[in-house]
Symmetry: C2
Subunit: 380 residues, 2 copies
């Protein structure tokens, strides 16, 4: 049913040029061939998928990432409770194949629409809502070992970057040192065949959680003075941010420092950057940045920098509960992290990086971060 709309032949030359696309196509075709073979043999076609649940997730203390274990589940075609999901998986796989061949990308919401229709001769929709299609995408990713970016899918784009680095994005050479006050929007897909690093003069990367902090630092000339790449994730890091950060760390060998607000959410943002998330454990290898350093904002910064009551925001019940959960995570078991989280609970308040403005407008850029870097005062 899919072949009607796409024009694979016209685009296939371009598609073939990309090794990544060729590998993805081979993986999708292998999946389809296996099912076809079973059908031809008169058997019940089935998909073998790794289980994506807490029961199959563990923290690899050596690699320092969250990993998916070996447990698998079988999804059979001739099984009333599995048939719908079985069909959906192949429908999404087929649409991804079309996207790869046409060299187009869509969001996971757009994929929902792309693959939604009423099955001919019935009242049955292929998908009722995006809550049905998103897990199928994740199944497919883990089932054929291809990130969604390789399937030409992405979640929404978020994040900005500036610094002494020249990149080439899909043919456009972009000097990230000449972005004015705006910054370059970090693309959703940051794989090396579409985004190349041309020339780098940066010595490290600073990622800040909030765009307001990024703007202050950018205006203060922080990245020029400190020869660094300045990024903001604009909250929880989108996949593009995580992937470009990993490439900065591994390909350019840059140390990465993270500056988030002093609250459990900030710790969580740092934690996902560092070792991945439980939900998406299967992509940790390609997304996590195990060497990332937590520059702040630390609960100990209150005394260290003589902050006042003006920056205190009382912890609420959710904050306390969340902080206690953090304490129990294996990747925060180390004494230094326990001490950090204990101090947050002991303070009974959280703080925002913006709170440093009670000292002065340029305190973050000119005093706080330089002192932290000079003293090597960070957690890892």
């Amino acid at each position: 049913m899919a072949a009607k709309k796409a024009a694979p032949s016209a685009a296939s030359a371009k598609a073939a040029a990309s090794k990544r696309d060729a590998v993805t196509l081979a993986k999708i075709e292998k999946l389809a061939q296996a099912a076809l073979k079973t059908v031809k043999a008169g058997d019940n076609p089935a998909l073998e998928l790794p289980v994506r649940a807490l029961s199959n997730v563990s923290f690899n203390a050596k690699k320092r990432i969250i990993e998916l274990g070996g447990k698998t589940q079988t999804r059979e075609f001739f099984n009333t409770s599995m048939a719908r999901k079985f069909m959906q998986t192949f429908l999404v796989a087929d649409k991804c194949r079309e996207l790869v061949l046409a060299d187009k990308t869509v969001t996971i919401r757009q994929m929902y629409y792309l693959s939604k229709h009423t099955v001919a001769g019935s009242n049955e929709n292929t998908f009722e809502d995006q809550g049905e299609s998103d897990p199928i995408i994740e199944d497919l990713e883990v089932g054929i070992d291809a990130l969604r970016e390789e399937l030409h899918l992405y979640a929404n784009k978020r994040g900005l970057v500036a610094g002494p680095l020249v990149v080439n994005d899909t043919g456009d050479e972009i000097d990230l040192a000449r972005m004015g006050r705006g910054g370059w929007g970090i693309p959703s897909i940051c794989e090396s065949d579409v985004l190349k690093f041309v020339r780098n003069k940066a010595k490290f990367v600073l990622l800040v959680e909030k765009v307001a902090v990024w703007q202050r630092l950018n205006e203060d000339g922080f990245w020029q003075k400190n020869e660094c790449i300045l990024m903001t994730s604009e909250g929880q890091a989108a996949r593009g941010v995580r992937r470009i950060l990993q490439r900065f760390a591994t390909e350019l060998n840059l140390p990465v420092y993270v500056l988030v607000d002093n609250d459990p959410w900030g710790l969580y943002i740092y934690s996902v950057l560092k070792q991945g998330s439980i939900n998406l454990a299967y992509e940790s290898m390609r997304m996590a940045v195990p060497n990332v350093r937590f520059l702040g904002m630390s609960s100990f910064d209150y005394k260290k920098f003589n902050l006042t009551a003006a920056v205190e925001i009382k912890l609420n019940d959710d904050d306390i509960k969340r902080a206690q959960q953090m304490k129990a995570y294996p990747w925060f078991h180390d004494k230094k992290w326990q001490r950090e989280i204990d101090e947050l609970l002991h303070n009974k308040f959280k703080m925002e990086v913006d709170g440093f403005l009670t000292k002065s407008v340029t305190f973050i850029a000119e005093e706080y971060i330089p002192k932290k870097l000079r003293d090597r005062d960070y957690l890892q």
Copy 2:
């Protein structure tokens, strides 16, 4: 108390270079001088401020913008119910003066921290939370007739742009046609002294609500093929987006088309772009773009483009209530708008622009928008 931290003398040369800054400083100083004069005369110093409430807001049908009326309120120093706000207004004004002199900008959240402290010899904080400082900023804006951007303040930055336009932002020349898949982040402050238009080849502007739609159109080469500036507001338009759009319309004389989802929220986004908002009526003159055209997504597009049930999202009670409110707004009184909103209510469903992917991946770029433009099928 403020003079301790800033270093106005060092920065004043640079500040003086900007005419805009000089005008703002004069306005702040006039405010202070007036109060000082009253004090010296032994009188009760007072501020005369326009009332910022629905009772003082009206729609100017000729200019097609929402305007603030002439009602004013007096804020006296020697009045227990007014003294706190009186002090706060001067405190914020003083901090803004420092920012202008130092040529720095901060968010309104950062301004809250910048001006928050415990009053010496008391337990009284200058501000308890941002809910107290934001209205004071608005008072100051309207009180001295200076936009917050002129006071070196801004709300968070949001929005991306690409297209055949070269800009110069604070000294960096940026070719918006060479942004790859990323786009340039639209700054919070888009006044002409910091952001200049260098060369333009675009024939119109298309602003889309959602970043996912922007990404699809950017990938499909929409702005190249159609010689236009492609922007996304990423939801409700931030002030930077509104201001740059107004400058595109007035300085470059470009028609502006807006493409939002087919729901009351989409209509509201369009409406704020066009005639401003009730809350911030005093800035309509500098922010509203009265000639902006509503390209879609129209409730009539469902039949016009043969969409199917796959795109229907049932209206909820809030949607219906909101749509009925929209119908009552004077700027939607025209028959064509009543018809548009009636059709939404009659459909009983809303739609997303992404829904066009049920037709094909490139339908929005290659069929929907071109047909709308060709047929001049838009509302105004």
